[in-house]
Structures are given as C-alpha cells and as structure tokens.
C-alpha cells in the first residue's frame, strides 16, 4: 500500500538554507545538501528545495546547488521558486531535479503547466497554490506571499491545474502558514476528495499531531513542513511513529 509522505521543505537563498515565519525574519539554518542528507537519514520521503533568491546570481547558484543535491541525496526531491518557463524547468531537470514546483508563473500563464507536463510528464510538475480565505469564507489564490488576491477561486484553479497536466497539487493556506496552529482540515478534506491527483498539505504545522491530522482527517497524500523540523520541535521519525500508531501506512 502506498505510504503517506512526510516532506521537509528547505528554503534556499543564495545557496544557503533559511526559514522565516511568513517569509520574513529569515534565519540561516545551514547547508542545503547536509541538511537534506540529515532529513533523508531521519526518514524523509522526499525533499522540497525552494529558491527564494532575489538575484540572478542567486538563481545561478541554485542550479549548481541542485546538481550537488542530486549527487548527494538518494531520495526524490522537488525544486521550486522562480520557475517561469519550460527552459527553467529543463535546466533544473538537467541539473537532476525529480520534480519542479511552479506557482505564480502558472497563475500568470496556465499554459506553462501543460508545456512542462507534455515535455517531461505530469509526474515532473507540481503546481503550488498559495490560497487565502476571504472574509466571505471563499478561498482564493494569492500571490506575493499571500499579500495580493487574484481573481482565481481555489477549487476551480486546482481542477484547472489538474486538467492541464499537474501531477500533484501543493496547497498552502496563507491564513495558517507560519502560525503553527495546524492545517485547515476541512479545506484539505474537500480538495483531496475532489481531485484525482495527490495533494500535499503545507503551511501551519506546529507539532506532530498536526501532520497526523491532515494526513488522516484531511485526506492529504503528503504533508510538507519546515520550521518544526528545522527548529527541532519534532522529528520525522516521531511523526511517522504517531502515524503508524493511528494505523496509517508509512515508510519506517
């Protein structure tokens, strides 16, 4: 039986790993390859590396870093951040990435999903969605770290991404991201019920029980978290033991 996946997310800026609450107040937490190997040993099922470099030089550094990651890590990894064209995706595939995660570029030009999927297969394309609940209760897509609403409604966009060839959806609730209060469970339960493709839950984990909840009641196929692992609030092994205790299939 397919296991539920636990995925640490590593934010990378100018070649170094960082993590910030609400993408601000960034704190350096080490070398991306070393940290990735540490998580792989701990039982991470995949890794996500997100490039948050603001400069072209940072982007170039990231491509070289992806080559080092591919050489040093023996589990699958996804890379994201600033991917806006098929050429960007190709460059990262050539560097050794197993998947690319596209976000605002797909919102701006949805055809990009199909272009990458047709060239390299759906399994290579993760569509990341930053969604936020409006005061009227509806969920809409945001850009710029959750500060700007778009005209796209979450569920309609997730379906569109799936139809265009996304292999997975990585959904972050910007209402919950950085709060450590847990994931929005009803939101994930609805999305996972509606989509054919796997859903990765992101944003809001504060303890192992939150990951367990989103993978059981929330129905998510994978849970992504950053701070709780980076700051040692819990370990991947502890999360997996908690899941196994609930009868959830995990790789231990």
């Amino acid at each position: 039986m397919l296991t539920k996946r636990i995925i640490p997310c590593l934010d990378v800026k100018e070649g170094r790993t960082v993590k910030g609450i609400h993408f601000e107040n960034l704190t350096d937490v080490g070398d991306p390859v070393t940290l990735g190997q540490h998580y792989a040993r701990e039982g991470a099922d995949e890794l996500v590396y997100l490039d948050i470099s603001a400069t072209q030089q940072g982007r170039n550094t990231f491509t070289q870093l992806v080559e080092r990651i591919a050489d040093g890590i023996h589990i699958p990894f996804t890379v994201g951040g600033g991917i806006s064209s098929l050429a960007d995706a190709s460059r990262l595939l050539d560097a050794g990435a197993d998947k690319v995660s596209i976000n605002s570029a797909a919102v701006a030009r949805p055809e990009l999903i199909g272009e990458i999927a047709q060239r390299y297969g759906s399994q290579f394309v993760v569509v990341a969605i930053d969604a936020k609940q409006r005061p009227d209760g509806e969920w809409f897509i945001t850009t710029h770290g959750g500060t700007r609403f778009t005209e796209r409604e979450l569920f309609a966009w997730a379906h569109e991404a799936q139809e265009r060839g996304a292999g997975e959806i990585l959904l972050t609730s910007m209402n919950h991201d950085g709060t450590r209060l847990g994931y929005p469970i009803p939101l994930f339960a609805r999305l996972t019920a509606e989509l054919r493709i796997p859903v990765i839950a992101s944003g809001g984990a504060g303890c192992a029980a939150h990951l367990v909840e989103v993978l059981t009641a929330g129905g998510a196929d994978a849970a992504l978290a950053a701070s709780i692992f980076h700051y040692g609030e819990t370990t991947i092994a502890a999360v997996k033991r908690a899941l196994a205790a609930q009868g959830v299939s995990v790789r231990i």
Binding site: L2, T3, R5, A70, H74, I75, G96, I197, D221
Partner: protein
C-alpha cells in the same frame, strides 16, 4: 564497465549519481560496440513507452538489447519496453518478459499516477539478496506490468497487484526507481552489480 543506455528517454542523471555513490564505473552510450563490451547494461527510462520503443528502434538497439548475454537491468519505462506490449500508445515491446503493461484504473483510493513509496513482497532471487519483504521503494508510473512467471517481486496499488520486478535469464527489471529508493534502492543496485 557499466553501460547506461542513452536513447533520449528522460533524465539519466539520477541513475548516474546512484552508480557514482556506489563507486561504480559507468558510461552513457548508445554505441552498440560499447554496449556489447559492457559487463552490465542499465536501461533506464522516464516518459512515454511508445516513444521509448520508437527511440530504441531508431537507434538500432531494439535488435541488439534482447540478444545481450551480460546482466541487463531495466528501470521503469526501461522495464516496460522489455515486455510484450504496452497499453501506453498501444505499442509492441521487445518481448523479453512474457507479460503485458496495463494502465491502472482511476480510483479515489488508488490515485494515478502511482507516486510515492510502496512496499515490495514475494521477493525472489539474487536481486533482493539481504532484503526483507515489506521494504519500501519509490514509484512514479501510471502503467504497470501484469503478474507473470517472470515476476520476482510484487506490489499492490489499490486493487492492482502487479510485478514490481521481473527476471528472465540475464534480464532484470524494476518498475520502481532503485536510484531514488534510499538505502533499499542502493542495496538492489549493489546486488545487480555483484550478480
């Protein structure tokens, strides 16, 4: 020397990296002489099965590969093209393995593509030396090889029990990705290198 067959099917880098970590000597090639000389042949592949078979036929390797006498390891689409037929693009394979490649049925309990870590059971033979049933390996695929007499490991996805690995004479193949399967995958590759 291990020949990694480069026939234009996706990224070979992860296979190269895995062999590099094991300290093995390898080359990327589509040269028939180099492939014939190699001690081991790796046939990776990511992408569309019909395209993979077409690429192999174009490069002239479709006749050569089934006649190799050294150990050959097909991975993912590299496995599928060694079967008799695939539903992906309704294509004839090279027919080394006496089985058929089918598409997983869509189901809410068993999403397609089958992507992630799943366990292997009914392990049979040297490729799995030193390993226990229930070990986890990494999969990314929508089409699967049906069970057959060549099956040497099985995996279940939803209602489908399929061939996780196949063996016929000197031909081995895994539907999963040993190069992405952590320590378990490294053990399988190491076993293949020391068959």
């Amino acid at each position: 020397m291990i020949a990694i067959v480069d026939y234009g099917m996706g990224n070979l880098r992860s296979v190269e990296n895995a062999l590099h970590r094991l300290g093995a000597e390898y080359c990327l090639t589509r040269n028939p002489q180099e492939i014939l000389r190699a001690d081991r042949v790796l046939l990776p592949g990511v992408g569309h099965a019909a395209q993979a078979v077409a690429n192999l036929r174009e490069s002239g390797l479709a006749e050569l590969i089934p006649n190799l006498r050294r150990p050959v390891l097909g991975i993912c689409v590299g496995l599928q093209l060694l079967c008799r037929h695939s539903e992906e693009g309704d294509c004839e394979g090279l027919g080394v393995f006496d089985t058929f490649v089918k598409r997983f049925p869509d189901s809410p309990e068993a999403k397609v593509p089958h992507m992630g870590w799943n366990s292997i059971g009914n392990l049979d033979g040297k490729l799995f030396r030193g390993m226990k049933g229930g070990s986890f390996v990494y999969y990314v695929h929508s089409f699967y090889p049906a069970l057959c007499p060549d099956t040497i490991a099985t995996t279940r996805h939803g209602d489908s029990l399929f061939s996780a690995a196949l063996k016929y004479e000197n031909f081995y193949a895994t539907q999963f990705h040993p190069e992405k399967s952590g320590e378990v995958g490294e053990q399988i590759l190491q076993n293949f290198l020391t068959l």
